[in-house]
Amino acid sequence: MDLSALYTELILEHSQKSEHKRQLKTSTCSERGHNPSCGDDITIELLVEDGKIVDAAFTGSGCAISQASTSMMIDLIKGRSAEEAQTLANIFLGMIKREISSEAELELLEEAIAFQNVSNMPARVKCAVLAWHTLTEAMKEL
């Protein structure tokens, strides 16, 4: 197992201090997601105007993987439409399940492509996908 492919500098940076780890003053929707068995517990807030995610943030605690994944996700979706965000979530989840491997699609994930290795680590898959599932749930409220 190659740890350096998992705990990359990028992932560590995001996990340790994320500019997105804060509370929104006003939000359109928010959703709590958790993995009871490992203790990951995050809440995602979105501010959506005219179908566009104008602001997003998260709070909560968890392992480096879940924290970094959440942070990078917010990087990626901020400023996009809810539809685009859902598409990206689908690509991310597809990548982890190894159902999507087209370079072109994966590139849309930008930095979050760093989690591709997690698809080989069944014990950590739940950590990586938590934010993206939570996002999907949150957007159902829109």
Partner: protein, 410 residues
Amino acid sequence: MLSLDAIRAQFPALTQKVYGKPLIYLDNAATTQTPIDVLVACREYKEKSNANPHRGAHYLGVQATTLYENARNKVAKFINAASSQEVIFTKNATEALNLVAYSYGMSKISQDEEIVLCISEHHSNLVPWQMVAKAKGAKLRYLYLADDYTLSWSEVEKVITEKTALVAIAQMSNVLGTVYPLKDVISYAHEKGAVVVVDGAQSVPHLQTDVQALDADFFAFSGHKMYGPMGIGVLYGKREHLEAMPPFLRGGEMVEYVEEQVTTFNELPYKFEAGTPNVEGAVGLAAAIDFLEKISLEDVKAYEDGLTSYALGKLQEVPYLKIYGALDAKGRGPVISFSLEGCHPHDVATIVDSDGIALRAGHHCAQPLMRYLGAPATSRISFALYNTKDEIDACVASLKGVRRWLGHGS
């Protein structure tokens, strides 16, 4: 005592490599590895004596019945039960505890009585009692721990009262390693008129068990945590209780006469064993007991205490590491929980795993305790009789690298 090498040679699983590195298995409180004698006993049963016991008037049926009942007798002796009729085979400790909750709890506990648990209980000795409390209108109360992770006598006297109908408590915490002074607790609870259910899942592989000396009313444990197979567990119960309790699982074997509308039940222990039992599991458990007794639990304890002491010392040298539990091997078992500042236990587990070291991260099925400790999760190492100081050194070395991997400098 056998030499360590000789002992390790009996565990095929310990010779394997993971990620090209020798396995260092420190997750024994979750489940232990299995010695060759147990594997062979199960296999021989299947090849030479396999049949449905208690049912056949044929050769194999007799063999299977004999092996199954011999296993029961062996368990009875191992825990010093007064009679093997007090030994009920279940699938694991959890089923054993549920049996008590459903059969004793649901029929004997009444409104406004109190059920007392220790805050460190495993979910298997906690969630069933929540069910009983809710169904019967009883109150669930907790024994909280002192700052040194022990149970103070004043807490016992405060919480266990005349209102207490039942106390359910583990002999050893699977998170803290604390061994509770159960003999005193039980005698005090009996004075107050309460029965005591002991969860022995963690203590049985490490301490000599004597249910009569403890004077436990019920005592539950699992085969797979004491070098036996999965799928087999034990409930011991005092005869007077078991006789007075209604059956739990119902079906084949546990009946006497079945008519269309009513049924009378079989005698102990069969009344509580419905359906085809796990004979191979019982046979494997008996072989595990033989294995343990050949070494002797006294020697096991002495050896494991040494490991625990050594590990507690070494772990305290790891920067930023905090141990949840007593820092002295006395009064505790070989289970050590800890946290590394700034590192989530799940990441800790992944990082040491890459060195071939198996430890556990999470809430260890003891969420109320985690909340009480103020830790959402911990890392845990736990020893068996086959672990070594070298393995502890390797684990400690690996732990020292964790913060670096997670970007916290060295």
